[in-house]
Amino acid sequence: MAKITLSKLRHSYYPNPKSADDYALKEIDLDWTDGGAYALLGPSGCGKSTLLNIISGLLVPSEGRILFDGQDVTELPPDKRNIAQVFQFPVIYDTMTVYDNLAFPLRNRGRDEATVRERVTAIAEMLELSDLLDRKAAHLSPDNKQKISMGRGLVRQDVNVVMFDEPLTVIDPHLKWKLRSKLKELHQRVRATMIYVTHDQTEALTFADQVVVMQEGEVVQIGTPVELFDRPAHTFVGHFIGSPGMNILPAEVSDGVAHFAGQAIPLEGPITAVAGTRTEIGIRPEFVSLGQSGLPATVTKVSDVGRHTVVECEVAGSRVNAIVNGPGPNRGAMVFLDFRRDQTRLYADGWIASTAGESAT
C-alpha cells in the first residue's frame, strides 16, 4: 500500500500534440493517500480510463511523473509496479478452476503453496466464493466471474493500489447493489488504496471517501460525496451529480446582485470578483420550493419517482426542476418558485463565484 502522487501529468494520444485540445488528459496534480477509497467519476470519454491506465502502467504519459511513496514509477511496466486492476469485463482464465484463478497472481510471483492456500481461502471467503473453488471458472455467471477478477486483484497483500475500471457494467442491477456494498466492506477489511473508475454517480458516491470528478481531461473537483453535493465547485459537477442535477440558470450581474428572468435573486453570500463573461445561478432541485410568491413559472412536466415528485417548470425560456414531497401541481399550472437562499450559488464561466455568507449554516 502506498501514497500515490501524480505530478504535472499530461497525456496525448497524438505523437506531436499542438493545442490543449490534443490532450486526452490536461495537466493533473493529485495526491492519493495510503489506504483511501477513491472514485474517479466522469462521463464516457472524459479521460478517466486514460488516467487509470497511466497509474497502472499500461500507458506511459506524454508528460509528468507518477510517484508511489515518493518513488518514481513513470517508466515501470505494470508487473513491476505491484498493483492490481479489475476490468470492465470479467477476465478469467477459462481452463482453470476458481482456486487456480485466484492463485494465479501469487504463483506467478513464486509464493509457496502454503501461502497461496491461506490467501486464496481467505479471499474466497470474503467474496463468498468458497463453495465454487473446485469448479471450472468458465461456466460461472457474470457476477461470479467478476468476483473472481476482483479476487485476483485483492489476493496479493502487498499491492500498492487496487484499481477498478467500471467493474459493475456487466452485472445485473440487483447484484450490482450487493457487489457494491461488498467492495466497500472489502476496503474496510483490507485497507488497501483503492481507485474506482465509473460514470455512475451512485457507485462513486457509495464506494468512495473522496470523489474526483473529471470532465474533458480535467479534474474539476475533488471532495467527499457530501461536499460535491452541497457545494459543487463547477456547474458540471452540479449538473452531473444529483438526480435530477442542479438547475443552471443564465444570470446577469449588476452592482453585486444577480438577476434571473428580470428578478433579483438573493445569493448565499457576496460575489467574488466576476472575471468571466458567462454568469449562471446554480440551485439544486431539492432547494426549490413551490409557494405563493417568488418567480412565476409554468409547470411543463410532473414525474412521480416514488419517494418524491419532480416538477419541471419553465421560467423565461429556462427549465427549472423542483423536488416536492407529496403530489405536485398539474401540468400547465401557474406556480411561484422560491429558491432557498443559502443554497443559491453564482457561477462565472462554470466555476463557483459566490462565497458562503452569513446566511449559510
Binding site: 497502472s56 492490481a84 486492476q85 469485463f89 477476465v91 485476483r152
Partner: protein, 287 residues
C-alpha cells in the same frame, strides 16, 4: 380451426432431391457394387461381405493405410504448431494486417493440380529451381522420382506450403477475438509469455483449432490430386496413399467390387476418426 394438409412436403422436396442425387444415390450405388461381382453387361453376382474381408486382410491395403496415416500425422504435426506460431507473430493492428492476410491466403487460392505441377517442376533435378539448387549447388542427391525419402519430403513440404495458411487464418481469427483486457490483466497478474499462451491464447483458439485440425485431417486423409500429379504414387509404391490406391484398383484394374468395399471402409475410417476427435475436443464444453 386448422385444416390438415400435406403441402409441407413440397417445401422439403428440393433439399430431399439434392441430398438424394448428391449423396444417397451415389453412396448406395457404391454399396451395391461392394457386395456384388460384375463382368460387364450389367450382369451381377452376389458376393456378400467377401470384398470387405478381402480388403481388410490384404497387405496392400494395410500398407496404403499405414502410409496414409503417416502422411496425415506428419502434416498435422508440422502444420498445426507452425500455423499457430505464424498466427502469433502476425500483427493484430495496422496496415500490415491485410497484406499478411492476403499473402497467407494465396497458396489456398491455387488449384490443387496446379500446386502439384508447380512443385513437380520446382523439384526437378535438372531444371527445377529447388531441385537444381540442391543437386548442383549444395551437392545433395535429391530426386523424388528415384528416392522414396525425397518423394516423401517433397509431398509433405508441398502440403505444408499449400495448407498451413488454413491453420494460420483460423488461429488468427481466434487470436484477434481476445479482448485487450485479457493481456492487460495477465501483465498485471505477472504472467509469463508462456502462461499467456497456455492460459489465454490457446484456450481462446481451441474451438477454431478443433475445426482447423478436423479440416486438415479430412483433407489430408483424402488427398489425391497433388501426389497423383507429382509422384503418381511412386517411386514404386512409396507414396501410394489410400485414394491413389483406390483409383488404381477401381480404374486401373477395374475391380469395381473390391474398390467399392475399400471406399466404404475408407469412408468409415475418416468418419470414425473425425467423430472421435470432435467428441473428445468438445466434451468439456457440454457441462
Amino acid at each position: 380451426m386448422k385444416t390438415e394438409n400435406q403441402k409441407a412436403w413440397f417445401f422439403v422436396l428440393p433439399v430431399l432431391l439434392l441430398v438424394a442425387f448428391n449423396a444417397l444415390i451415389p453412396m448406395m450405388t457404391v454399396v451395391n457394387y461392394s457386395v456384388q461381382e460384375t463382368f460387364g453387361d450389367n450382369v451381377f453376382f452376389w458376393q456378400g461381405l467377401d470384398w470387405f474381408e478381402q480388403i481388410l486382410r490384404s497387405d496392400r491395403f494395410h500398407a496404403a493405410l499405414g502410409r496414409q496415416f503417416l502422411f496425415t500425422f506428419l502434416i498435422l504435426v508440422i502444420e498445426v504448431p507452425l500455423g499457430i506460431a505464424i498466427a502469433l507473430s502476425m500483427p493484430r493492428k495496422g496496415i500490415w494486417v491485410p497484406v499478411c492476410l492476403v499473402l497467407m491466403a494465396l497458396p489456398m487460392l491455387i488449384p490443387w493440380n496446379v500446386v502439384g505441377a508447380m512443385w513437380n517442376i520446382f523439384t526437378l533435378p535438372d531444371i527445377g529451381l529447388l531441385g537444381y539448387f540442391l543437386n548442383h549447388v549444395m551437392g545433395i542427391d535429391y530426386d523424388m522420382t528415384q528416392d522414396p525419402l525425397a518423394a516423401w519430403i517433397t509431398i509433405v513440404t508441398m502440403d505444408v506450403w499449400h495448407w498451413t495458411s488454413l491453420v494460420v487464418l483460423l488461429s488468427y481469427a481466434g487470436l484477434v477475438s481476445i479482448p485487450d483486457a485479457y493481456y492487460q490483466a495477465a501483465k498485471i497478474d505477472g504472467a509469463s509469455n508462456w502462461a499467456v499462451f497456455r492460459f489465454i491464447q490457446l484456450p481462446k483458439m481451441k474451438t477454431v483449432l478443433t475445426i482447423a485440425i478436423l479440416l486438415r485431417f479430412m483433407d489430408s486423409f483424402n488427398i489425391y490430386t497433388e501426389p497423383f500429379v507429382m509422384t503418381g504414387g511412386g517411386p514404386g509404391n512409396s507414396t501410394t496413399l489410400l485414394s491413389i490406391d483406390l483409383v488404381k484398383i477401381a480404374l486401373g484394374q477395374f475391380d469395381l467390387g473390391p474398390a467399392a468395399a475399400m471406399s466404404l471402409i475408407y469412408f468409415a475410417i475418416t468418419l470414425l476418426v473425425s467423430w472421435l476427435f470432435y467428441t473428445l475436443m468438445t466434451k468439456d464444453d457440454l457441462n
